[in-house]
Structure formats: C-alpha cells, structure tokens
Subunit: 361 residues, 2 copies
C-alpha cells in the first residue's frame, strides 16, 4: 500500500457527466489527491482514461485522476483515508436500498473510522433537493464518526455522451456550505473544500454559509420547471411556448408553483425573493434544454422526485402552507415514478388481481 | 337519383370504432335508412364491407350500411334528405378549422335546407364534453334551418383495429336527450332517435331529458381520469395502483378533481351526487384500459381537451368556483396538446427565435 500525500484526499462517488467534471476540477486545481469511483466504465477508463470536451477546461484526452476504484467498497479497502467523500450520484430515497446515499457512503465512512477515528470525514452532497442530509444524520452519529456534512449546489451543463467521454457545455458553478450553519468544523471543511475546488478563471466556486437558502432557491427551477418537462417529455422552452397562447405555462403553472416554493421557504424562515424567479424563467426562454427529470424519465431511470418535490411538500403540510400547484404536480409525478419502477422491475403489477405485488430490493 | 324510403334517414359522420358500431346499431334495428361517411377506408369498405366482432352483435362479415359516402360533401350532393346527422368524430375546437363540427356538418345542413326547408334536421352529437352545442347554435340559426340539436352520451368500448375491421368489447349504452330541455321539437326527435337506435337485448339506449346532467356526470371520468392517463401515458388502473402507496392518485388527485367537477356543476344548478364517483372509480379498478385521451396522445392525435376540461373550467371561473386540481391538470394538458400540434405541423416552433411562428390552417 502506497503512502498518501499530505494534501487532503477526495473520493468522488458517481462518474456521470457531473461527477467526472467535479473530479477533474479537484484534480486540475492540484491541491488534493483525487480518487473516483467508476462503475460501468472502469475497464475503459483504467486503460484509456477520460476524453473530455469542456467549456471550462478545453479538450482533455486520456486523463485519469490519481486513483480509480470500481466500487466504494474497493475504495474503502484501499487503506486510504478520504477527507472528502464527494457524492454526485442522484438522490433517490424511494429507489433500491443499495442506491441510497447512506448505503453508498457507508463502507468509506466505516473504513475512515477504522483508519483514524480522530480525523474528520467530510461528506459533500453535490445533489439537488431538500433535507438530503437528514438520511445521513439518521444513519451515522456525526460525533462518533467525526462527520462534517457539506452541501454542494451546482449549476453545470455536462453529459457523459459515451463510454469514457464527457462533454461539458455549461460552466461549473458550485456553492459550498455546511448543512448546519452553526457546525464550526463543517464550516472550516466547507471553506477548505471551496479552496481546493477552485480553478481561477475556469470554474466558479463560492463558500456560502446558507445551504438552506441556496437549496430553496434552486427548487424554484427544479420543483416547478424540471417536473413539468418530465410530465410533458419536452424541453423547458417548448413547455413555455407551446402552451395556451404561449403564456399559460408561465402565468398559470410556473409562477404560481414558484410562489408556492417561496411561501413554503418563508414558513421556515428562509427568504427567497420573488425576483429570483426571473433568472430561471429567463433561462428557460433562452436555452432549449431538457432538464434532469425529463432526461431520467425518458431514459427509464428513477427521478429525484422525493428530495425535489416530496420533501418541500412535507414542510408545506407541516406548516400549513397551501401549495395546490405543487401538490397536483407531485401526484402526477408519483405515477410517472411508479411507472418507471414497474419497468425496472422494482415493483410488479399483477394484471389479474390489479394489485402491486412485490417490492424487489 | 333513387327515391328514398319512408323511414327516417340517418347519416353517420365518423367511421371510427364508435361510428361503425353506431351505424350498425341503426342499421340492425331496421327502422331507418342508414348512410355512413367513410374517409380513409372508403374503397375497402365499398368492395368488402366491414368485418365486425361485437359483444353486442356477434361476428358480422362483409357488412355495409344502405349508403356509403367518401365525404359529407358527397353525401350532401346525393340529393337525399337526412333526418338525422349523427356526428361521432372527435370534438376538437382548437384543431384545424376543417375538423370543427360546424364545418363538418355544414354541407349536409345546407343541402337539407335546399331539398326541404320545412322539414326538421336533427344533429345528434355523440361526443364527449360540455357546451359542444354552442358552436352549432353560433353558426346556424336553428329556426332558419329547422334544426334540432340532440345530445348523445355513449359508454362503449369499440376500436377500429385495421382497415374495415372493428372490435367492440364493451356494450353500447347511449343516452339521448335534446340539448335544450324545453325544445319540444328536439324532444320529439330525441325520442324517435332512441326508438330507431334500440336493439332490444343487444345495445341499451335511453331517452332522457337531462343532457346537461348526463354530460357533467361523464366529466367525472373524462376531466379527471382520462386526462391523468394522457399525462402518464398509462392505463387508468396503473395510474391508481402505481401511485404512492397505491392510494395517492385516488385520494389526492381523482377524488379532489371529481369533487371540483361536482362543485362546478352545482354552481350552474346541476346536481351530481358524490356517490356517482364510485361507479367510475370502481370501473378503473376493474378494467385495465387506456381511455381516449391517452390513446389519442400516444397516437400523435389531438385530444378533446377544450370540451372536456377547458369548458368546465370556463364555467368555474365565471362562477368563482375553486378548481385547483383541474386547473393544474389543464395547464399541463395544454402543453401536451401544443406538443401534438407542433408534431402534426399545425404550429411551428422556431428554435432560433424561440417563438411559435405559424399557425397552418
């Protein structure tokens, strides 16, 4: 076993379009030792490395991070301590148990604890949605494991177009915060992560101690626009322009839905200004783009429905905030999610009894 | 030109699965002279007739009604007076102008008027939705043309499976009423139509003087269940059972949506009892079935959105009845309808200007 450098060590889990660019950003900055868990493309990447066409970094050929692992368990067995476990997989709490975040990071948290129980492990969730940290707090005592939970909210346009090949068309802008704004250790870890992630003039990374606000703000887009595009299986611009008079989606669906997000956020003391809506509305009018839920649904993959829409609606219910637009969208989306679960064999619908029979784990 | 019999003469316009069985029902009863407008299958049907596999009438081979026409204009040129113009095409007021009901029936109303201005022409709209008669009243003075407008609300499961071949799996149950319950002439015509349509022990036809009530009642299903299946592209049973806990669609979407229909109907004095919901809810739990809007959307055809959901919502708005569930479903459905319009070339979306450019008529 080789000894590790003195630099902080990062393990990125999730080698999709976003995960690969995230890994490259850390690697290119040169301030950390960078490992990546690559599942399906492992053999190809070990042999050929990645081929990247990036608006931030240009053409990069045959690139590999410092270490590659086939699974998080392999990474855990490596004997390395990973200061940052960076999670870029989708967050699907209603999907197979093996794909939940706490299961994914478990082996590495346990091996870190075994290697050095006194050293802080930061888990950076670069994922959409709300209350995604709760699952980790429920499964791991942060004091026992010396965990710092960090929130990463990323705007990026990046796609894995084929095996080992990634195309990035939208600049990587990352906001890093502790989930708990009063957690001093997490605060320090977030600042450090922002510094080792920064590539001046290329990507854009900000340390901000307002995870909750940043996440609510991004929900303006994800809870409303992203969901709509999945239901219509259509890019966001067409969802706007092909609606009645070219205006009904904006006036009757998206603005009301966004105002509901603002009201729910306000009910827990987070102020999102209505003018923030303009950024996302203008974005949908400018770029013809299919957001993640539309892409996932069309690919037959589960969507991040619960963290993007289910959790905000739980807060609305708890605080008595009316959210009729989001509520109806959510009901429809659960049908789409159920349809995907049946198609993936995660549930089975018996056409004779007309009942859902089996949940396969 | 052959002379006509003394029996009433019926012209059915629309030779889909429903139209063909409707035509056969009239023919088989033997009390009227029956003509059918067949568009795409005309040559085949003239040569071979229809092949019908019907739960009401058994196997019927090489059947033709008394007269076949390629278009309504051809029927108008035949010199026949048609006592009943029976319309079984879809009602799509937001579609191409040539497909609107008033344009479809125009040549026959005009030729009837020319042949015998003193004789009543009944137009029987066997179609879904609300306020579908208004379009006809706007375009034709009922006194001048001696028009009686009749409402046909049909429950039937029938599909044209290939050229000239129709399979009927659900019994034909038709309710016939005058649209205007005080129109004595229409009342008489509706009674007569029910009598010439009836095939004892086979189909089921009722004269009822409550068109509005019957139409609101059927909207419990069409405005709520039918629309949902189009958005999910899934049969109605799965829309129920694949939702959250297998219950969220019924509890959070369909029952609230149906209660909104009941409230809107009540706002104009039509009483639909909440227990009527049970029939439709049980139906969706019993038969695995894709309703018309789902089928139309999947086939790339326009849906009867405006008459099924747009018109009830106009009444809700006029009478100040809250209908948040139906409202959100409608906004989403207009996007689906716009998507179909673009795919059919009825509108064009310019990806450079990001605007809808052209409406082709």
């Amino acid at each position: 076993m080789s000894s590790q450098s003195e630099k902080p060590s990062c393990l990125v889990i999730g080698a999709g379009g976003v995960g690969v660019i995230t890994t490259y950003s850390l690697f290119n900055a040169g301030l950390s030792e960078v490992s990546l868990v690559v599942r399906s493309d492992y053999d190809h990447v070990v042999e050929h490395g990645y081929s990247i066409d990036s608006c931030d970094y240009g053409i990069v050929e045959n690139w590999k991070p410092h270490h590659l692992f086939r699974t998080a368990t392999d990474a855990a067995k490596s004997g390395y301590f990973f200061d940052y476990i960076v999670v870029t997989v989708k967050n699907i709490p209603d999907g197979p148990k093996s794909g939940t975040v706490h299961e994914i990071v478990r082996p590495v948290i346990l091996s870190n604890h075994q290697i050095n129980a006194a050293r802080t492990t930061s888990v950076v969730l670069i994922q959409n949605g709300l209350d995604i940290e709760k699952e980790l707090f429920e499964h791991f005592d942060p004091n026992h494991y010396k965990l710092a939970l960090l929130s990463g909210v990323q705007l990026i346009g990046s796609t894995k177009v084929s095996t080992g090949k990634v195309v990035q068309i939208g600049q990587d802008r990352l906001s890093v915060s502790p989930f708990d704004s009063k957690d001093e250790a997490a605060l320090e870890q977030a600042k450090l992560f922002a510094s080792i992630y920064s590539n001046e003039g290329q990507n854009e990374v900000k340390f901000e101690n307002n995870a909750r606000h940043t996440r609510w703000k991004k929900l303006l887009y994800n809870a409303v626009v992203n969901t709509t595009t999945a239901l219509a299986q259509l890019d966001a611009t067409r969802c706007l322009k092909l609606s009645k008079n070219g205006t009904s989606t904006e006036q009757n669906l998206w603005v009301p839905g966004m105002m509901e997000i603002i009201a729910i956020a306000a009910s827990e003391g987070v102020v999102v200004e209505p003018r923030e809506m303009d950024f996302f509305l203008n974005f949908t009018k400018t770029y013809i783009y299919k957001p993640s839920m539309c892409v996932d649904y069309e690919k037959g993959q589960l969507m991040e429905l619960e963290v993007i829409l289910g959790n905000p609606l739980k807060i609305a219910e708890k605080n008595g905030v009316p959210a009729p637009t989001l509520f109806v969208i959510y009901q429809l989306m659960t049908i789409l999610q159920g349809k995907t679960k049946e198609r993936r064999g995660l549930i089975r619908f018996n056409e004779t009894t007309k009942e859902v029979e089996t949940v396969v784990e």
